[in-house]
Symmetry: D2
Subunit: 441 residues, 4 copies
């Protein structure tokens, strides 16, 4: 099978056309060379296209099958299909002028009859990627191993009751980590889709946590062994597919990293929809990771506010996205991380152009949000108001309480001596919100 020529009606890269443009095949806000806070927009946002959702997902849901009927999804020669898929993928990268992409091993190449063959398939497609990347600007944001789709992983990978599955997963990660390294990947991601349980009744919770900690250490050790300088990232998710996943959210993963002695080695890839499924706002998870020193990268998407599962929709709300971008800027922006669209067109969006429009519109939402967030930073009024609210902590008495040597006794003595009777001050939430809202453009 050849490349599906003409899959996209046009393969012209989208151009920045300004906010007044009505052409869905242009950027209204994403102007990659525009300098924002001293950095090009492209370097701020570091957009990545996800191989899985855009090229591998066939459009099914729990109540219905394939809707997309992509030409590269049907045929006898699986490697030929994989090559055709790669052609389309790089075509989309070019159309979107995307600086990065991301993949699971099983997205890019078919599973073979043995792990050895599967790995060979992955390496064969990776070679094609390498060649394509010579003439493309696109780079690899991260690679990851799919340790959840095959039925062998139905009860977990690192946390499987069967140690052979642990071994198999370890061997699979080794290959993908190395391939990621060879392709110049900036990060390697672990998403523990089935590292959790369906029922506590059949689960040895403590052993599974121990096994997962060991697995993480093995990966980090191998990273250093092969000289991979990228970041190891964990992507938290509270549930789905399992009833309960160990990597529940940022706070929980931080604790598990501490327990494994890895809080300095591993950072987090935070997905918007996973944040909300865990009962947090996206900006909370980013801010929390930053405060804990483990902010790495993001999976940009959105959930449906009324649905209880991972809808992985393209972001559409500029104001919500601006709050996330503001926290990313406050955290100092990305180092190796980026803005990966872990998002899929709806299963009714069956036309190739839907793929293009969805990404372009989402890039615009993020770019507009970045401009807003940059205004918030540059203007400084929000930060100034926060600083004012906490100004008391700069006094000597306050500093002393935080310093070693302070004690409840000493503090209580001071409270009594001074007759402290602190009066509440307005939190001025509506004023803060109005101020934040005033940057919307």
């Amino acid at each position: 099978m050849n490349a599906p020529a003409g899959f996209f009606a046009s393969t012209e890269p989208l151009k920045y056309a300004g906010p007044e443009s009505r052409d869905p095949f242009s950027f209204r806000w994403y102007d990659k060379d525009r300098v924002v806070l001293g950095k090009r927009m492209e370097d701020h946002l570091r957009f990545a296209v996800a191989y899985w959702h855009s090229f591998t997902w066939p459009g099914g849901d729990p109540f219905g099958g394939e809707t997309f009927l992509r030409p590269w999804m049907h045929g006898a020669d699986e490697m030929a299909l994989a090559r055709a898929k790669a052609d389309v993928a790089f075509e989309l990268f070019r159309i979107l002028d995307a600086p990065f992409f991301a993949f699971h091993d099983r997205d890019i190449a078919p599973e073979g009859r043995s792990l050895k063959e599967s790995n060979a398939n992955v390496r064969a497609i990776a070679d094609i990627f390498a060649r394509k990347m010579e003439t493309s600007k696109v780079r690899l944001l991260w690679g990851t191993a799919n340790l959840f789709s095959n039925r062998r992983f139905m009860a977990g990978a690192a946390t499987n009751p069967d140690p052979d599955v642990f071994a198999y997963a370890a061997a699979q990660v080794k290959t993908v980590l190395e391939v990621t390294h060879e392709l110049g990947g900036q990060n390697y991601v672990l998403w523990g889709g089935r590292e959790g349980y369906e029922t506590l009744l059949n689960t040895d919770l403590k052993s599974e946590l121990d096994h997962m900690a060991r697995f993480l250490n093995l990966v980090v050790e191998h990273k250093h062994k092969i000289g991979f300088k990228g970041t190891i990232l964990i992507e938290p998710k509270p549930q789905e597919p399992t009833k309960h996943q160990y990597d529940f959210d940022v706070g929980t993963v931080y604790g598990l990293l501490c327990r494994a002695g890895l809080e300095k080695e591993v950072k987090l890839n935070i997905e918007a929809n996973h944040a909300t499924l865990a009962g947090h706002s996206f900006e909370h998870e980013i801010a929390m990771a930053a405060a804990l020193g483990v902010f790495g990268s993001i999976d940009m998407n959105k959930g449906d506010a009324q649905s209880g599962w991972d809808t992985d929709q393209f972001p559409t709300n500029v104001e919500d996205t601006a709050l996330a971008m503001y926290e990313i800027l406050r955290a100092g922006g990305y180092t190796t991380g980026g803005t990966n669209f872990d998002a899929k067109v709806r299963r009714q969006s069956i036309e190739p152009e839907d793929l293009v429009i969805a990404h372009a519109a989402a890039m615009d939402v993020c770019a507009r949000a970045l401009l807003i967030a940059a205004d918030m930073i540059e203007d400084g009024a929000l930060q100034h108001a926060v600083d004012e609210r906490y100004a008391g902590w700069q006094t000597p008495d306050a500093r002393a309480m935080l310093a070693p040597g302070s004690s409840l006794d000493a503090i209580a003595a001071r409270v009594e001596a001074a007759g402290l009777d602190p009066q509440p001050r307005s939190g001025r939430q509506e004023r803060f919100e109005a101020l934040a809202g005033s940057y919307l453009r």
Copy 2:
């Protein structure tokens, strides 16, 4: 004001009358001296009555005011009212034959015009407690400081933007910790009801986390200074009253304890309704705490499965409660902890007898659940099935992967050499569930 004589129609202690009893003023399952797994039921369950819900809450909700009109809630002499309340409380302890109770400082004594006066009020009532405890079997499970009701705490206690509030809270905790120690309390609880935020926009998240960590260390240092041998407990809750609380759940609190260097010093008080609000089952939070080595005590109650706030209802479902009891038994049972009814009668349950019936029925639910959980343990079939599921981890190859010195390289070599192709085995969830269900009595 005198004690409200005759508040309860009868002050006779409830008696065990067996499962066939139809008398709501008797125990059908709670037979305190019955030996279960080698221990008296009373010593297993260590029931505590919560002062707050039963004696201090007036029956209001966000859309309506007081319904209970308790005699000790209305009057000019607040200390006299507090003494009358104490009389009623100890009367209920006696009626229920409760081995423990628990309180916040503001539950038991009125707030004074200064912290000094407030502390004096607390100590005065504590003296009354001490005298009453001389002739009562009831002991103190834990004390805690209310750092959330007064408007001075509206923006938090340890995490308040105003350091004077931090100081005030520290001084307040000092007193309650000492009073708890003096009353022979088995634990001291910190519930950070307002340690969180309403909007990230006005919040310095990292500073607040740092301040909270310092506060915890101050408390632990003071505990050791005064020789308190009880356990310091944190009670996680994801939200409510604040939009987002730092002590979100077991996993998150564990991470914060690690960050503060306190994971060996502090344990957790897990509330059923807080677990479900955080997106977990109650038994998950218990099992997780046990696996992380921080299981302490429980606040027994239940939420409404369709309501998104903390309803703090008395537990009614034996099967759900048995799953929690099973995890507690697997964790080795309580050491200093207990089963505290952090539960309130519904605001329409305005009769004194509703208080008695609610506690008695809940104690029966727990006792019945304990018997079931003990059967699960004694029979061993569940544990046996779990052991069988993980049996592979006892092999040398499996142990080697967990041991230092293993590597992805070595594991991958073994996978390839052995041609490992692990086949999934049934998780048998329905069989496990049927087995667990078979212990219901």
Copy 3:
């Protein structure tokens, strides 16, 4: 392909063995001939096995593919596979001694190259069913048309923007309604899995509601035309697969039936998991349907209390199930309806015996719940307490207010004249709950 001989290790019908039995291949509580409230248990419960979950679902989820690898799911001759599936299905019906089964057209027979061919396939398998039913006790609880799996229905069936899809769906329903009639089906179900929308932006809400109303009327008219005496049932569900479905819950469907003039013609099939996804308890939806005069049948299953999607698990909690059974008994029990297990074994439960155990355990849960509910009815204490609570409504003044001719003026005059100042009376919720709990066995 032949029937998969020996798919089940044993094909012996399960027997009632009593509560002490430890054999998972026996009934502990379901004793079909036991008379409860004057009726055989089997006639009360009217269990049905669902063809879809047990024989057609391959074990996939959104993050992983097939796990079950049933022999009848792989092969070239689709009709031969369908016949093999039918053999296994009737084997399971016999093993479970199930009085009923239920199916979608696409569960039982493969889709053809045209609707005509698809219908022929359905009729061919229905003929096999008819023959098998001659020597089997199993009868058809209901049939239904699958109007959601094929991509042609991706935007709805009766509510599709394309009227040809409406027509196609109508033609499909015609066949299945007739086949259901011919097989002696007791009901015909409509589940509007994609009758809803993904985004309001692309939706003409009012037209879709009008089209759906017309569709329902067409079905009801055809029912009368062909002389089908069974009940037309709608199964409410709030969402999933679509973001929002029109048949949200019992209350909403009742309104839509009124709008279509069908509130006397159509009844509801209430699913436990759909009730909870809509923010209701299962028993609420049953009680509501009964109060509105539209209670029909149930899809018995349970959701996961922490998951936001339709998990369709087998029921395991006797106490929860008893509350549902109590409402069914209060509603007078089933007429044409039944207890259909719209439940699937977990995707890790890959062994044939898991199917048997899951159904048997669920039947036991329901049987035990029925016994409890029957005790609640027979004892009458709950109903008596309710009657007492509402006794005031039997007075002439109260009756007058409800009668035509009363007015706010007259009522207000009486309130003022009598100086009415009604005092609250305890709702005694905990006592009611303790009483209800006392029937647990």
Copy 4:
């Protein structure tokens, strides 16, 4: 007590100052005389200030008491306090240049020792309102009776087990309906805060629904009797304070209205936060009400996306609000309805200026959203795309299916004759979303 002079630092009406204004005491978008779609902004939006949240709520929550300490909340002469409150209220109306306000009877006047006295209090304050309205532009959007705060209503008003409470509520509504009529109110609202249940166990569901239906009919009959030309509105809410309320959502209320024969008499007041608590988007509830012919008015606010209770926050998200405004415009805009801010400043926002800023910012959010929604309407591209999607329904064959006389037989015959095999067309959701997003300004 006199009016709290100087409660607001300034009483100057806020002025429109344009989008570039940084003054929180000005309007950036709300330019009342600006003509939008042929109507003044003020006449489109019809803003109302809610008496309850802004003047009566003291800042408490379930875990803490009063924070606001408003001068009119503490004093011995309750009627003097009520008059002082009215002064402040009308001052805020003037500052905001608000065209409407809304109230509960118990917000504006203290409860007396009898209903007669309470009614007299209400009438006395209403007289003051009437006088103030002579010199104020503000008019009454709606009045309503508080049938939930007093403990007599703890078990419901119209659905109370005690018919005397039904009578009392009826008498109370009579007065408020008449006062609303006399003050020229445009609507009368019924919010059934406790018309629901806490547990089905103590509830006679069908009787309660019957009583509620009778109550509604009494109110409608009285409306006609006194010649009130305004609209009777019901405000749906799924839960809180009760565990389950009968007026769950738009769809459910529509069904109950049909059952009571009132679907032509009563319309709905839709609150954003109640919509989301019921599992719907705000725009869904508006669109649904419009489709069912019962759209009346809105309570504008927002919930917290991660909290499961009614937070009643001021709206802050322009994009979300624009989607609601778009549905209102599609529904033809308000007739007697308006945009009532059923929103409260956070309990930490204790300064008077917080009240002003919150309202002003919210009015700006709505005004900006209106401009966006008007652009969506005027441009017509969205509607055009929808029309195109449904264009097939204009064909004769399609119309015929909807017309009387069509049948499944006829349709099926046509499907077979024509060999219909409808192919899916892209729902183009991302394109619709991008288009909708393009109107953001």
